[in-house]
Symmetry: C2
Subunit: 338 residues, 2 copies
């Protein structure tokens, strides 16, 4: 099926040199006389030659591919992260191989195995909480990687870029507290976002506010629908609640929907705050107050660390924790008196 393809040999032949000379000009090694360089470049242009990356990869051990492992890409957080990562990486000349795990450790392992056999140069993994289990595989084969960590514990000795999830939760709850809310409910992706919620509890505790366990709902699914169901249940049982803290925006969008369903205006009769700042948060109605994670900074940092490791050949473990920032929009207001 494949049409004949022009190789380094064809170029060499046409330029009247050997293929290693062609290789030298391709790789810009300064050992070629200007004259023959010109000849070779002509031949390359005439023939439309481009090096076979497979062959090069086999010979050099460098494929210029890095793997990106994420739970999925229909979740906008990961979609946005992947796009940012791709942009950062491609400016460095790397192509990306995308792997989705769907949160399935078996699947993740299989995918990693295949990437390894394709001899990618390195990996960036967006931890879904189960990635930690596969780090052994990575270190075992000596594949450089950096972890865009979720808040769950990450392995020591790894290069990780993470957000300060505890602080994110703290900032969100502090905002509610400072607005004067005392009747707060929590809709959370539990246990995945435990740390965020702990931060929230800390902020509330500082104002002697405690959130009864019955006002904390874990979502069945990590989606808008999950947030909706959780909010419906908690708001129905506890109508006195004036504010809901969601552990991430997708859930908050569901809470928003539940509020509409229950006839509670936002922020007039219910305040909603969450964490993430995905694009949809600012486009919601009303736009969501949330604590922003700078995905783009995470992407740049991670890509930077990986590229440095690949270039230097040195592994430099360490944890970089990025600070989240409260973004006040229109889903929060002081509690109304009625």
């Amino acid at each position: 099926m494949r049409v004949t393809v022009v190789t380094i040999k064809d170029v060499a032949h046409r330029a009247g040199v050997t293929k290693q000379t062609v290789s030298n000009v391709i790789n810009k090694r300064p050992v070629v006389s200007p004259d023959t360089r010109k000849r070779v470049e002509r031949a390359i242009a005439d023939l439309g030659y481009t090096p076979n990356l497979l062959a090069r990869g086999l010979a050099t051990g460098q494929t210029m591919m890095v793997g990106l492992v994420v739970p999925n890409i229909t979740n906008p957080f990961y979609a946005e992260l992947v796009e940012d990562l791709e942009r950062s990486l491609e400016t460095e000349g790397y192509s990306i191989a995308l792997c989705t795990t769907y949160g399935d450790p078996v699947r993740a392992r299989r995918q990693l195995e295949i990437l390894r056999r394709r001899y990618i140069d390195g990996l960036i993994l967006a931890d879904d909480g189960s990635i930690g289990r596969h780090v052994d595989l990575l270190t075992e084969v000596g594949l450089p990687f950096v972890l865009c960590a979720s808040e769950t514990e990450y392995p020591s000795g790894a290069t990780v870029v993470t957000f300060d999830h505890g602080r994110a939760g703290y900032l969100a709850a502090q905002h509610l507290r400072d607005l004067g809310h005392r009747e707060v409910a929590v809709v959370g992706d539990i246990p995945a976002h435990e740390v965020r919620l702990e931060g929230a509890h800390r902020a509330l505790a500082e104002a002697s506010i405690t959130v009864a366990p019955s006002r904390i709902r874990a979502t069945r699914v990590s989606s808008r629908l999950g947030g909706f169901e959780a909010a419906m249940s908690v708001l129905t049982e506890h109508p006195e609640v004036t504010a809901v803290m969601a552990s991430h925006d997708l859930l908050a969008l569901g809470v928003l929907q539940a509020a509409a369903e229950l006839g509670r205006t936002v922020p007039g009769s219910l305040s909603i705050v969450s964490v993430d700042d995905i694009a949809a948060a600012s486009q919601a109605n009303p736009p969501l107050t949330t604590v922003a994670f700078a995905k783009q900074r995470m992407a740049r940092k991670s890509a930077g660390f990986l590229v440095r490791a690949l270039k230097s050949g040195q592994h430099r473990p360490g944890v970089t924790s990025l600070s989240p920032e409260l973004v006040v929009r229109e889903s929060t207001a002081p509690p109304s008196r009625n």
Copy 2:
């Protein structure tokens, strides 16, 4: 950096055979005696050997990778399509290389060039309308591909899977018409969705309804925000409008937001219909009436065609047009009398 890796030679040595025998057992060629097969399999297991896909690709000309080219993945339509495609393809043993074009033809070309140099086996392209220009490159190098076509014209001689966009528009507008709407505005991704809108005009014309040009708004950007701005402008200028047809769901979500902003309840005082049926459509408030494109069927068909072409080595051009279906939810109702 890379730790020592076990090769076919190591296996051969340990099993006391030559590497071509190992190759024979790996590729399940029925020429190996049960006895030596066992020995080799033992050696493979002991050493944890897995074939180097780069080397194999170079030797066979098959990389078992297929490229997926989409405009972006933050648009949920493409994200969902990519996930479906990946699932279909991986069951056939293919890994995917993802390319995002961001609608930039230059970028698209560069990416395709790189994929070609990586010797992927084939391609699936989700047309953003500009892909057509690159088909020459693909046919030139003889790379099998299938086009998940947008509605713009596609090259002849290609294998394409598309939706009947005209019918989609027709169904959407017919629904509004049958509900009794006569004052209709259009928010469209123009010219990308020209065909959908033509279908819509046809349905309306059948009831002698014409949509004045001033009631048709092209969006600046193909996003929620674009839909919002377009709807704000058209609804402000034409408050008598009772229904809006959007050319895709993302825009419709923006229209929904505009309706809220303008104090028009949906569907009480304004009906909204669109085309696509992305996940967010059913999760909107109210859930959107829309015309569904079965992305999953598109993904399966496309993957199926490509895989068949790869296996048979035969290119079979043709256009498969999938039928859309109206999904009535809660964003549409008869016009109110006031």
